[in-house]
């Protein structure tokens, strides 16, 4: 610097000049700082506001997400219910189909039964007729039986009369001997 004729030769002035230039630089830096600080503060405020807005939107998004999740759950539940209902419907349909088949079978069975009933009625009628004839026969048999019973009673009376007769008693020894010797019952 000393060789530069533009600068003062005096050492104090040289140093003072450098101090002034340093002060100039300090003031420039201070001004730079003072320019940046409000901008930074403004940006801080905006950032805070943006963050608040973001938070609000996040809350809304969270709420909507919750609503969506609830709807999804409801949808899943409804789908499940639909599935269950379908299953039940299918089961019912199958059951109805099975019942229809059963009904046909039953109808057929009923028809068979009707046929059988008719046959049974015929058989019953025939049986009744037979029973009637048998009853007639039975009555005749009973009448004959009574007749024969009377005869038996008559014969029994006659037998008892015979066995209580003196002649029967006097011939008893002969019948015993016959049993011993002949081995036959009387």
């Amino acid at each position: 610097m000393k060789s530069d004729p533009a600068v003062p030769a005096d050492q104090v002035n040289l140093l003072r000049q450098q101090l002034i230039l340093a002060q100039v630089r300090i003031m420039e830096l201070e001004d730079g700082r003072d320019e940046l600080q409000p901008r930074l503060a403004g940006l801080e405020k905006l950032l805070t506001a943006a963050q608040d807005l973001t938070d609000l939107k996040l809350q809304e998004a969270a709420h909507l997400e919750k609503v969506r999740a609830d709807l999804q759950t409801q949808y899943e539940h409804l789908r499940h219910m639909q599935h269950v209902t379908n299953e039940a419907l299918n089961a019912s349909r199958a059951e109805v189909a099975a019942h229809s088949l059963g009904k046909v079978a039953l109808l057929s069975e009923v028809e068979n039964l009707h046929t059988l009933t008719r046959q049974l009625a015929d058989t019953t009628r025939q049986q009744l007729e037979r029973i009637s004839s048998l009853e007639t026969a039975h009555r005749a048999a009973l009448a004959e039986s009574a007749t024969r019973q009377e005869r038996i009673a008559q014969l029994d009376a006659e037998q008892r009369a015979m066995k209580s007769s003196r002649s029967w008693r006097w011939t008893a020894w002969l019948r015993s001997l016959e049993r011993v010797l002949g081995g036959r019952k009387p």
Binding site: M1, I20, D34, P38, A41
Partner: protein, 638 residues
Amino acid sequence: MNGTSAYRLRGEIEGPRPLRARDGLVVVTGWCLVEGDAVSPPVRLATTAGNLALYRRIKRPDVPGQPALTECGFVIEGRLPPGVYVACFQAQLPDGRWEPFNTLSLVVDARPFAAGIESPSTTGKVSRRVHVEGWAIAPAQPTRELTLRYGHQEIPCDLDRPRADMPAAYPEAPHAGRSGFKSRVILSAGRGPLRLKAKLADGSVALARTSLEIDVPTDEHHDARIDFGATRIPLAATRNAALPAPTVKTDRPLNVLFILPGSFASNSALHVAALANELSRAGHDCAVAVAHDPETLGHHVAPLFRGLLHREAASGVTFANGRGPQVVHAWTTRENVRVLAEKLRADHGAQVVVHLEDNEQEILALSLGRPAGELEKMSAAELDRLVPPDLSHPRHGRDFLARADAVTVITDKLRELVPAGRPCHTVWPAADARYFFARTRPDDFRQTLDPGPDASVLFYHGNVHAANAAEVRELYAAVLQLNRNGLPVTLIRTGLDQVDFLGALAEEVAPHVLSLGQILHHHHLPPLMALADIFVQPGASDAFNDYRFPSKLPEFFTLGRPVVLPRTNLGSQLRHGIDAYVLERADNAGIAAAVTELRRDRALHARLSQGALAFAEKHFSWPRSAEALAKFYAALPA
């Protein structure tokens, strides 16, 4: 985006996205139409802060799907309060309903502080010494103070001058009608673009640049030989490119509370801050309590510890893990430190380590102006009355030391004061490696300091107080002596003078001393220190110096210049001619002789510069000091 009613709405916003209203003015362009309708619908911008209506229509032949050429283009313009909005663009359907066709976010900036100059001119260069007039307005709030700034000048202005034209331009500002100003005085010598700096009602500061260039070459305070357009010679403010490796993390982190007797602006605070930073890097949790001025923590670059006041610490200190301090490191036995440390020991059951860095009794004697022996004989009551909180009480201090769990000392000589059997560890100070490292001399700047080719610069930083006044006077006397001997020497001095130590010497030595006052930020010192050729620590072996370790010494050594110092404290461990220039007494004569020899013998100067660096490399390291201290803490008996 299309509407969803029976009418089919089509539209687009074409302004630069995302939408941003600079200076509070919202201007949005776009187009909108109802399909099949030959008439373009009215549009508006709806926000929570109000609606902005259609400002102008534009024919848009480029928009397809128009039944006929319509003015479907639009401009919406207006002002909204600063903020972030959801901007809903709506169009009015033929049935009268407003329906949205687009929704975007909109950021509205605040209208900034603005100013205009009207006298002496609105633009160009001003070289005359005149008043400056114009207007300045911050729409959101009134201006409390306004200054003109250019070059190194700052000129206050008178405010509240009427301006009939401004309310129309700033209808939202009730104070616009009185936004005129005039500089309080005419322009002083200085050169640079004119700026206006305002202090606003809420205390904030705003700045506006103008297109006016001030170039006033001289005035009654500025010599015409000073060239405001000269090149500024900067002092390098670089950081060390070769920093030490990161500290190894501990697996047993401790909660450590340091208690300082003063503020963060003291030399002790530099040591504590460096140790606390390194301990924090290693995984310990550190806090530092100071007696006053907690804002001085701002003097430290990126502290990794918490700062608090004694009175805050007294009500309990909780660390990040929810627990109290495990180690309370009381920095000296001074009364305010002792009282707090005793309380915290009782409250938290913490181990108390006391650090000694001075002969406290000698400092007390020097501060009170009474011999140490006399103080020893005083009654306890008398001492209680005499000893201030920031000095060590002879008896309480001794008792405190006796009750300490351990002691650290800055120099081994202080072990003489440690009670027998007490664990003791020596913590050497170091220099902040981020800023203190071998720096080359900025010769360009030195030329502004040097009166001749053989000139030398010495540098001394630190306050002058009762304890060191005599020895610093010796340094000043040596500077005067050297200049008288024909060896031009300038002493750059920083720090405060707490006592008048020069007396009659002051006037004579003044031309050779560049006093820069207190440098608040310690890391600003190294670029200034780099201007020096030699560092000198004045003094001699005595009851004060033998028990201390001047904290500037590691900083001297790490800069890579010869260090001249007395054979006491660190000096007693250095090799003269290898590590440093060691004098039996670093007094006027000794210093003058040492500086003369170092200026004459370039080889010795170079050798001691290298020797200083080598010694610093080997012995001064905050990471190593902190690691050793952490091991000492860990080894303390439970």
